[in-house]
Amino acid sequence: MLTKRIIPCLDIKNGRTVKGVNFVDLRDAGDPVELAKIYSDEGADELVFLDISATEERRKTLVNLVREVAATINIPFTVGGGISSVADVEVLLQNGADKVSINSSAIKNPQLINDLANKFGSQCVVVAIDAKQVDGQWIVHLMGGKVPTELNLFDWAVEVADRGAGEILFTSMDNDGTKNGFANEALAKLSTLVNIPIISSGGAGNMQHFVDSFNSGQADAALAASVFHFKEIEIKSLKQELRNNNIAVRL
């Protein structure tokens, strides 16, 4: 049986792992390669590296870091941040990344999703969507949640799936940093609308939140950062707890 995935996310800025509360006030949580190895050994199913400074500062994702991570760990990882072209993706895949995550660039140029899927296959194209509720509507946001777009979360999710995305990483900006749980209602709705895997992100505070996200949110994978980085939740215990709740996990 295909298992639900637990994915620590390493937000990278200047080569270090950071995690913000609602994407501001960044705190230093360590060396990315060291963290990657620890998570891999503890049973993380995948890793996501997000160069959070990349979009704002128009820096390219850290290719050397990708190489170092790929040389060190033997589980899949995704790289995101500042990716805006087929050439950007080629470099990352050539250096050992398994998937790339695109966000703003997909909104600015939706054709990029088709181009990447055609050239590299859907399996390596993750479209990250940051959204929050505005007047009762889930609205997609840019630049780490700072800039609202005209896109509705659900319409956009259907479009990216149609264009060939292999997976959607949905971050609820309303939940991110709150530690009050994932946006399960929106997640469950996403799963009814598209037939590709959905990663839930934003709001993990305790183990029950993960259970809820897999059960009521129907997520295929759950992503979190600070609860792992600051050892508030250990991955092994989390997966044991999920299994105790009859959720299939790799242990």
Binding site: N74, Q94, D98, F120, S122, C124, I196, P197
Partner: protein
């Protein structure tokens, strides 16, 4: 031992290179028929879309070479699928090594299958000292149905062949280079065949 990874422009070769290095071996990337022929072991990787990958093989003439190889050959993921008769992806003719047609998962399940699933009904030395029901990492929308050449089974929508073998040709749908320590051991088994 001379280990060659066939370099035809498809996908993520670096992960396999690194995994091989962690196992203490060195691999050479090559699209040179003479070099591939002379290798002790050949890895045929593949990530991406079947018809464009096949086009690259045709352009380099490797489509004719690969089925004639006599040393152990391991196709991984799309590599394995291209070693089959044909695949529904892009309605692509394969190399015809494995006598099976690759099909697409239906919409009853999420496509692609993405993540860790178990392998069982293990046969062949590729799985020497590997327990049944170990978890492997899989990312794919197309699958090889269960068949006589199956040496591992996985269940997603239905049981299908997650590894194949015919004579010196091996194929894994899963990514041994991305499947933790057990995956690395399977890759190590191949290198010791």
């Amino acid at each position: 031992m001379k280990l060659v990874i066939i370099n035809y422009g498809a996908g993520n070769i670096q992960s396999i290179m690194f995994a091989i290095e962690r196992l203490g071996y060195k691999a050479v990337l090559s699209n040179d028929p003479a070099e591939i022929k002379a290798a002790d072991k050949v890895i045929f990787p593949g990530v991406g879309e079947a018809s464009s990958a096949m086009k690259m093989l045709l352009a380099s003439g490797l489509d004719a070479l690969i089925p004639t190889l006599t040393q152990p050959v391991l196709g991984i993921c799309l590599g394995m699928q291209l070693m089959c008769n044909k695949t529904e992806e892009g309605n692509t003719q394969g190399l015809g090594i494995f006598d099976v047609d690759v099909l697409k998962f239906s919409n009853k399940v999420k496509v692609p299958q993405m993540g860790w699933n178990t392998i069982y009904n293990l046969k062949s030395d590729l799985f020497k000292d590997i327990s049944e029901d170990e978890y492997m990492y899989l990312v794919h929308s197309f699958y090889a149905p269960d068949c006589v050449e199956s040496i591992a089974t996985t269940n997603y929508e239905q049981e299908y062949a997650s590894a194949l073998q015919k004579n010196n040709f091996y194929g894994t749908q899963f990514h041994p280079e991305k499947s933790g320590d057990v995956g690395e051991k399977i890759l190590g088994n191949f290198l010791q065949l």
